[in-house]
């Protein structure tokens, strides 16, 4: 083989490797059964380019075909998405959490903030039906996304994402990780971790694109029937069965004018009514906490970087100043003072995170209903009310 051929092959391999690193946003490693997607950081070479590519890919997605009957009615290709409030992997020991840079109040707030960011990202693609942030799982949701915050310290965000449709088909089970540098905080209009959510949106769309029209239609149908099964198992069990993989499949469909189905559909709309009302609270929270949260993450990132640099300096152990000199004292104490001041700022910001949830007041058939407690409790109360209504309407079978 000539040198020229070898050179070309080498160049091609290099190019391919580079492109792969950019388009898949860094090496994707597998931890156990869960794949980790590392979104390129701003400091890596080619990272900004890769991030732009991801954002452009999202923008370039072709609009989904709209329903032939009416443009206001969504097409079968558009699935409704429910994003559950994220969970958190942290333990419950507050002192231990602070050691890791985790502030419980902030973590609680970001379990609501980050799902909303994902919601905004998905909505911007126009590839989905209604995208809702939900306090708890809902049987009639066509695609449910749940997440767990594993690391969030302003420098790194790592979340585990699980997405399943109404048939319980697994769409995604991945860990997404992104590190950012100081430049990511320069533009306050864009979230520093937006590339992670862009990547996630693209992955969801990739799974969506693989489904056939009949599979998408089945997802819609299964969502309603599974909700019906929850309310009236005896009536709806006949329409559903599970296969070997534990996924729901349609056995048969109820008649279009089935009165039971109509009631179920009406109650489902009530359930969405609650979720949409709660969603307004999440929207308000998102807007309110954005500037404070951004500042908090920026401070937190600076602290992480400074501490790492400090540790690195300690390895070398040479400050350059004579031991016992004023300069050496100022440097040693200055490091500590900076750390303490930064922690004070973080504490002050963290104290501002108000997670109080207001009571939700809903108007149901001319009755005003007030739901109290946290949103999960409120949702549970609402579901119980709907079940009671259903039982009353249905009467004894």
């Amino acid at each position: 083989m000539s040198n020229t051929v070898l050179w070309i092959m080498g160049f091609a391999a290099l190019l391919l490797g580079g492109v792969t690193a950019c388009t898949t946003s860094g090496p994707a490693s597998t931890t156990g059964a869960v794949e980790t997607v590392v979104v390129a950081t701003g400091s890596q070479s080619g990272a900004p380019q890769s991030q732009r590519q991801t954002a452009q890919q999202l923008k370039a997605l072709p609009p989904l075909p709209t329903s032939a009957s009416a443009s206001a009615v969504r097409s079968d290709a558009q699935l409704d998405v429910g994003i559950l409030i994220f969970g958190s992997q942290d333990g419950s020991d507050p002192a231990g959490l602070k050691e890791q840079g985790v502030y419980p109040l902030v973590r609680k707030a970001e379990t609501r903030y980050l799902p909303f960011l994902l919601r905004q990202t998905l909505e911007a693609t126009s590839q989905w039906g209604a995208v809702r942030v939900m306090p708890d799982a809902h049987a009639s949701t066509e695609l449910v996304i749940s997440g767990e915050i594993q690391v969030s310290n302003g420098e790194q965000l790592q979340i585990k994402i699980l997405a399943k449709d109404s048939s319980q088909r697994l769409w995604l089970n991945k860990v997404y990780r992104q590190n950012v540098n100081a430049a990511a905080y320069e533009d306050s209009r864009v979230d520093p971790f937006q590339p992670l959510f862009d990547r996630l949106a693209l992955d969801l769309k990739a799974v969506h694109s693989q489904l056939t029209a009949s599979e998408l239609q089945a997802i819609h149908q299964l969502a309603v029937l599974r909700y019906g099964q929850q309310l009236a198992p005896n009536a709806f069990n006949t329409y559903l069965q599970t296969n070997d993989q534990g996924q729901y499949v349609l056995k048969r469909l109820p008649a279009r004018n089935d009165p039971m189905l109509k009631r179920v559909t009406r109650l489902r709309d009530y359930e969405y009514f609650f979720i949409d009302t709660v969603d307004e609270q999440y929207s308000a929270l998102f807007v309110e906490m954005k500037p404070t949260y951004q500042r908090w993450r920026q401070y937190s990132r600076e602290l992480m970087v400074y501490m790492r640099d400090y540790k690195a300096r300690q390895v070398g152990k040479s400050s350059g100043f004579r031991r016992g000199s004023l300069a050496s004292m100022n440097e040693v104490y200055g490091d500590y003072e900076w750390y303490r001041t930064q922690q004070m700022n973080l504490n002050e910001l963290a104290a501002g995170f108000n997670n109080e949830v207001l009571p939700t007041v809903l108007n149901l058939d001319d009755n005003v209903i007030q739901l109290d407690g946290n949103l999960q409790d409120q949702y549970s109360q609402w579901q119980n009310i709907l079940k009671e209504i259903f039982q009353l309407e249905q009467g004894e079978i």
């Binding site: 100022n330 040693v332 922690q343």
Partner: protein
């Protein structure tokens, strides 16, 4: 008569003395041995009373005088006889002056606000970080962070905050309440492994009733930092006299 010659006995004696001193050197500098806690109530607002403060120059003079005396004693009184003081090593002198400058710098805090409960104390200091201590049990509490080891707690009726920093530095702050409860003495002591003795500077603080006039700020999510202007008269009308917190000795 001893079977050993005089110079050998002297050498052994000196060697033992040196070993004793070396043993002292090896014990951690500024180690606090906590006496039983007799917790005093430090809570309130405190402002520096300049008239009662130590003079840095006077403390430095006294330090060097003590050092020369000690060196002279070590030199077996030869310099005393010849009426000359031992010269202090230049590097040591530089370190001591640096310690004095440094202690003076970190003890410039003019106003402190202290909040205290049975298990915690929070000393908010103007212009620098707050000193916090959680003391649920007996003895001193120790915590580590990448920049220092922090030790705090009660040593009898005194509250001690100690920072063990890299480069052989220890900074200690010891708070003592006066008998009438109207003064706090903050003794800031610095230890360095490059200096023969620690350097201490005392700062005195008098209790004062903070006028509730001016800006009161709090961090909110919605509007960031929100500051409101309050007036004394308004506060007096609105806020009933809060009962004085009772600090109990848990130990």
């Amino acid at each position: 008569m001893s079977k050993y010659p005089f110079h050998l006995r002297t050498s052994v004696f000196l060697l033992m003395g040196l070993m004793f001193l070396a043993g002292c050197q090896n014990s951690p500098r500024g180690e606090v041995k906590a006496r039983d806690a007799k917790r005093h109530d430090f809570s309130g607002s405190w402002e520096m009373d300049f008239s009662l403060n130590d003079s840095v120059d006077a403390k430095l003079d006294a330090y060097f005088y003590r050092l020369r005396r000690s060196m002279a004693r070590q030199a077996n009184g030869r310099q005393m006889e010849s009426n000359r003081m031992s010269p202090i090593n230049q590097r040591t002198a530089q370190t001591v002056v640096a310690m004095a400058q440094f202690v003076e710098k970190i003890s410039r805090v003019q106003v402190m606000d202290i909040a205290q409960t049975v298990t915690d104390i929070d000393v908010t200091r103007e212009g620098t970080f707050a000193l916090k201590c959680h003391f649920p049990s007996r003895g001193l509490q120790q915590s580590d962070n990448p920049f220092a080891t922090e030790v705090c707690g009660w040593d009898g009726h005194q509250l001690v905050f100690q920072l063990r920093l890299p480069e052989g530095l220890v900074v200690q702050q010891r708070l003592t309440l006066s008998a009438n409860g109207q003064q706090i003495n903050v003794a800031t002591t610095m230890y360095s492994d490059q200096a023969p003795e620690p350097f201490t500077l005392n700062r005195s603080y008098s209790k004062f009733e903070k006028r509730r006039q001016g800006y009161s700020c709090e961090q909110t999510v919605e509007k960031g930092k929100v500051c409101t202007l309050t007036s004394e008269a308004e506060d007096e009308r609105m806020v009933p006299q809060a009962p004085k917190p009772v600090i109990m000795n848990a130990d």
